[in-house]
């Protein structure tokens, strides 16, 4: 820069002659088409709208065999490749493929689908959960917890989080929750077939049973009339007299009223609860008693 200044002072006039020439040379380098072109491209993109979502399997970088291998390895299970493939084929997909091959006139090739595996897997899951929960909970509670764990919502949540969503072979897109939960059941069955029942049950324990972590059983199983349920349960155990007592009350007849009710059997406190009126307090106490009696708060050890 300093050199340039010096030279400018020396040959000022000479260079000023060429100044115009330099400026023109500079301005020719501005690419005046860039901005309008980008604007136009942006406008067209806006007009067309967002690209429709495509199944991952339609991408160029997709290798189904590699995906199947990684699926088994990810879960730490050795799955038989053919059984896994079968577990991922939906019946509708298999039927459509068959019809299409008929139309093409190619040789008759039946594709096996996962219909039987779904039922088998469902059996494995519910049997295992029943076996586990019958050890710790009364039947009603066990049933409602099992129902919660085997809903379509829950199983599809598990299925999509172990990577089933992209590798299912189905006609629909996006893949429905029902399909994912069915396929999860089929995978459990495929695991049993390729290894043994024990291994499949461990799989169910690790992925389905562990969903109860951090959840309260009393939130899942919510009895409508806890006091009646408690008296019924105690009668089965040979205790007939349950005595609710008003232990404490504060600010009665106001909006901030608080009552505390304790339930006693044979002069022993079985549950205590509180609420804004005596009826609610009694039911809360019954819920507390049920939690203690059925050991709902205890950690299941296996």
């Amino acid at each position: 820069m300093t050199m340039y200044k010096q030279s400018f002072s020396l040959f000022g006039r000479c260079i000023s002659q060429y100044n115009n020439y330099f400026r023109i040379a500079d301005s020719r380098n501005i690419k005046r088409w860039v901005s309008p072109t980008l604007k136009e491209l942006y406008k067209r993109r806006e007009k067309v709208g967002p690209e429709p979502e495509r199944p991952r399997s339609s991408y160029l970088e997709w290798n189904y065999e590699a995906e199947l291998y990684a699926f088994g390895q990810r879960l730490g299970e050795e799955l038989d490749r053919d059984l896994l493939k079968q577990a991922l084929v939906q019946r509708e997909y298999a039927n459509l493929q068959e019809i299409q091959s008929h139309e093409k006139g190619s040789s008759l090739q039946t594709i096996i689908h996962n219909h039987e595996q779904i039922q088998d897997g469902e059996q494995i899951i519910s049997n295992y959960l029943k076996k586990e929960f019958d050890k710790v909970y009364p039947e009603d509670i066990a049933n409602s917890v099992i129902k919660y764990l085997t809903t379509e919502e829950m199983l599809s949540h598990i299925g999509s989080h172990i990577g089933l969503k992209d590798i299912i072979l189905t006609n629909e897109f996006p893949v429905s929750k029902k399909t994912i939960s069915d396929t999860f059941k089929a995978v459990v069955s495929a695991l049993k077939q390729s290894q043994d029942l024990q291994r499949a049950e461990n799989f169910v324990k690790d992925f389905v049973l562990s969903q109860l972590n951090g959840k309260d059983v009393i939130d899942i199983w919510n009895p409508k009339e806890p006091y009646e349920y408690l008296t019924k349960l105690l009668k089965e155990r040979g205790i007939t007299s349950v005595e609710p007592r008003l232990c404490n009350q504060s600010a009665s007849n106001t909006i901030l009223g608080c009552f505390q009710v304790g339930l006693y059997t044979d002069k022993k406190l079985v549950g205590i609860g509180w609420g804004e009126n005596i009826k609610i307090a009694k039911e809360t106490a019954a819920l507390d008693a049920l939690q203690k009696l059925c050991k709902l708060n205890k950690v299941i050890k296996s």
Binding site: R56, A66, A70, G76, I162, G163, F207, S250, Q260
Partner: protein, 186 residues
């Protein structure tokens, strides 16, 4: 929190699918390495592919690795997680080691954390073990047997002295001083 984090989506630490309660499942399900075969900006990526990629794939059989050569475009890593997140990472002019470092990060992550900030470094679903407070929670046990009205319990605490009491005190102090003065003169 600095100013640049104000518009990031706040969230808590969480783990997808109770991962690790039963067994641990690596959450990175597939990764696509995009690169150019002759452009200089992809040099590190090409070196990584030549020397380290096979080992990476061997050590992580649960991750599907795809290679996608494209002419004259920047090297890119695209990671896909089990929870459906995808993460796009530009690797322009990255060295071999840098790419390895980023891939390790993607492999160990639970999901794409870009565009979000963690509000706290801990999180619990059960903030209280004792349960909610009621008027009876820390009640003095001696109240159980008390009959009301009770003189002792009904007594007011911290009653400030009245101005009349103050005056009496002042008068007494004055008397004392007078007595002392009288005794001193004698």
């Amino acid at each position: 929190m600095s100013n640049s984090h104000i518009f990031l989506k706040p969230g808590f630490i969480n783990v997808p699918l109770q991962n690790g309660i039963g067994r641990y499942v690596g959450q990175l399900q597939r990764v696509v390495l995009k690169f150019c075969k002759n452009n200089g900006s992809s040099r590190g990526m090409r070196e990584f592919i030549e020397s380290d990629l096979v080992n990476f794939a061997k050590n992580n059989p649960g991750i599907v690795v795809y290679l996608k050569p494209r002419r004259h475009r920047t090297a890119v890593i695209k990671a896909e997680y089990l929870n459906g997140d995808t993460q796009w990472l530009s690797c322009r002019n990255f060295s071999k080691d840098e790419i390895y470092k980023w891939l390790e990060l993607l492999r160990k992550q639970q999901k794409n954390h870009e565009g979000s900030r963690i509000r706290k470094l801990w999180h619990t679903e059960n903030p209280s073990i004792q349960g909610p407070w009621t008027p009876f929670t820390f009640r003095d046990p001696k109240l159980n047997l008390a009959t009301f009205p009770d003189e002792e319990l009904g007594k007011s605490e911290n009653v400030a002295s009245t101005s009349q009491d103050e005056l009496v005190e002042m008068f007494k102090r004055q008397k004392l001083l007078e007595l002392e003065a009288a005794s001193a003169s004698n």
